[in-house]
Symmetry: C2
Subunit: 450 residues, 2 copies
Amino acid sequence: MGQIVIIGGNAAGLTAASRAKRIDPLLNVTVLEKGPHISYSTCGIPYYLAKMVSAADLVAYTPESFERERGIKVHNYTRVDEISPSRKRVMATRTDTGEHAEFSYERLLIATGVRSKLPGIPGTDFKNVFTIVDLQDALQLNEALQNSTRVAVIGAGYVGLEMVECLKTLGKTVHLYEREPHVLPGLDGDMAQIVEYELQRFGIRLSVSAKVLALVGSDDRVVGVKTASGLGIDPADVALLDTGVVPNVELAREAGVQIGLTGGISVNTYMETNVPSIFAAGNCAETFCAVRKRPVLHYIGTVAAKQGRVAGDNMAARRTKFHGALGTTVLKVFDLAVARTGLCSEDAAAESMPAVSARIEAWDRAAYYPTARKLWVKLIAERESRRLIGAQVAGYGDASKRIDVACAAITSGMRVEELVQLDLAYSPPYGNLWDPLLIAAQAVLRKMSL
Amino acid sequence: MGQIVIIGGNAAGLTAASRAKRIDPLLNVTVLEKGPHISYSTCGIPYYLAKMVSAADLVAYTPESFERERGIKVHNYTRVDEISPSRKRVMATRTDTGEHAEFSYERLLIATGVRSKLPGIPGTDFKNVFTIVDLQDALQLNEALQNSTRVAVIGAGYVGLEMVECLKTLGKTVHLYEREPHVLPGLDGDMAQIVEYELQRFGIRLSVSAKVLALVGSDDRVVGVKTASGLGIDPADVALLDTGVVPNVELAREAGVQIGLTGGISVNTYMETNVPSIFAAGNCAETFCAVRKRPVLHYIGTVAAKQGRVAGDNMAARRTKFHGALGTTVLKVFDLAVARTGLCSEDAAAESMPAVSARIEAWDRAAYYPTARKLWVKLIAERESRRLIGAQVAGYGDASKRIDVACAAITSGMRVEELVQLDLAYSPPYGNLWDPLLIAAQAVLRKMSL
């Protein structure tokens, strides 16, 4: 009976476990998770903190229910210390009891995820300074927020912005700091400014191009944020850091697994590493960018789950290829939806890829329809091939599914002159005779002088 | 200076006119429209009748404003009686004055649209019996509805169903008759039943497989509907017919223009007919189905507008190909959105195309998110090529843009194993870790035993 061991009990790990067991029910599948929880929605954490949903809602399975329903053994509180590829064994410590445990495998999946990258400034070790990577972080932050009114959020990435909305909903005073000249560094500046307008509309104090020098504390607790602007200390009862993450690759590296140039675990299209019988999937592993034609890192649950599914297929001996990912994301910032896929103009410039882009403003449905709202679409096409390589949408209406249409177009290598004729659905309550995506494609075509 | 004449002042005709003039501002472009109005949103008519928008809102341009802003001459009340290809002239009658008028052209576009196909039953000529093809119909129906409480709607196609919702909103008692075994014949029965449930939920009396024998009248006015069920006469103050349309091709045929097997005007990819210098576009013209690989007819404004744009390009001597259409549509039926693209299972069977389909039920966003609603997705793939050939979505949440993603996938010839990995956006307020489209694609793959 095949013995599969999986390190990591979230999107990639559990999807792989379920998939392998489903394909070959005779497999013996074991999941090792260092924390107490498995199978929770990291993306749902802001909605838990905002008291819209309960912590229990975020957890799809407990170790017990997962084992019962899927026939997969789950060991939580189990930290893997070492992988021995020659002995095909994994050495671990039970963090609750301190016991040592060993697991032998025929095939091993490394799905160790990421951890926060702390900024190199003083004060990040104060008690009321938080990062949000797992459910434990969220539960602790929830406690700390009970007696706090002023929250400093350092970093205006996805997590930072979702937390800003959540904190405002809770009635907190929020000050958001971003090192770059605009929020959401994965977006172009002309799209990010729509988000910044929304933040200001909801009373968020926003400092862009902000250099945070230190978190200032007293009695082990943060009391303020000191920035290079020199205008004194901004008071804060709690500080939240969204200053990036790094893949957890140490276990893999020590086992002789190759780490890619991106810093993630290097895998082939079958999610196999260079070490026989060891697979990797999820945010610790590289993924292939179909536009850049090289490995990249995406820290996104959807990509992790898809990699996990492919890894599960291959660990159960069904050969399946992972086709790569575009890094499609969508984010709710108050009333605004912001979404992106593929490359932004700044990405294309970084790749030295000559590109043409256009941004348009349009109604999300028939202008005369009472619920019509504004939407902004930016499309980026490669000049030479005329293929769509990126899209960004922000709007008060339906932005998230329009990015999905662009995602399908980019994935299939669609050229702008094909996109412009795409036979999209129209009815006044839902759309326009010419969908905003098509209007944006027309604008790109005009810039290509066609 | 080139002389372009366009017969028909709506989606296809005006788009072609605007496009040709934009590409070559020296062109002399004239539009001939038989009715009083141009440039109105036919799709918006139900919302006008429901008093959600004004009739003026539906009209984007008057003949005067179109002429002023675009530099294109519009003659309304101008019915074309004959086209003479040998003399390159068009003979017309001014319907308001009875005057004769002639126009010479270098290039001519036929965009004559469709007219209602009346069922072959007695009583369709009663005064309070209506079809809805143009704005004039709507204005007259609006009058008739003022003193009516019971409305019979014959035919449960798109217009019929939109009218049902509109009439219910106005407080009318509605009885809907459909000849086929289910509403929306373009949908499969298992999807149509979701729509039927919604109709019943809102108190619509629905008779499917209904054979209407006659509209029964008194003093030139309809008073009831007689069906083959033999259960007496259903009373009605107004009857609305949605029993199909036929393309207006008589002018074209008499000018020697070839009519296709579908009954629409035959065109090549440049929207040229067989007669030199005569183009056709819009609902009177055939379009190419990329799945069936043959000409088909679609009676949809979006397709008409796209054909018009391509015709305008080519009439202004910029060679552009029309890539065809899938017949993507979306419809609001009370709280439900219903959308389709490509072939349904019944279409595939009619084409003798071996296909695999699967229908799934899912949440439109994270199940724990307060606004999560149910959604049903059905996907159809060709068994041999494994390509997606059709999709249907119905749901209380976001259905219309999901059909657009399927539309992009079908257009690009995507196979199910590629679709299953599509990197769609996710955030709890907008979607799921596994989008319903991906879950449906997984279900299709399983049926293909992969």
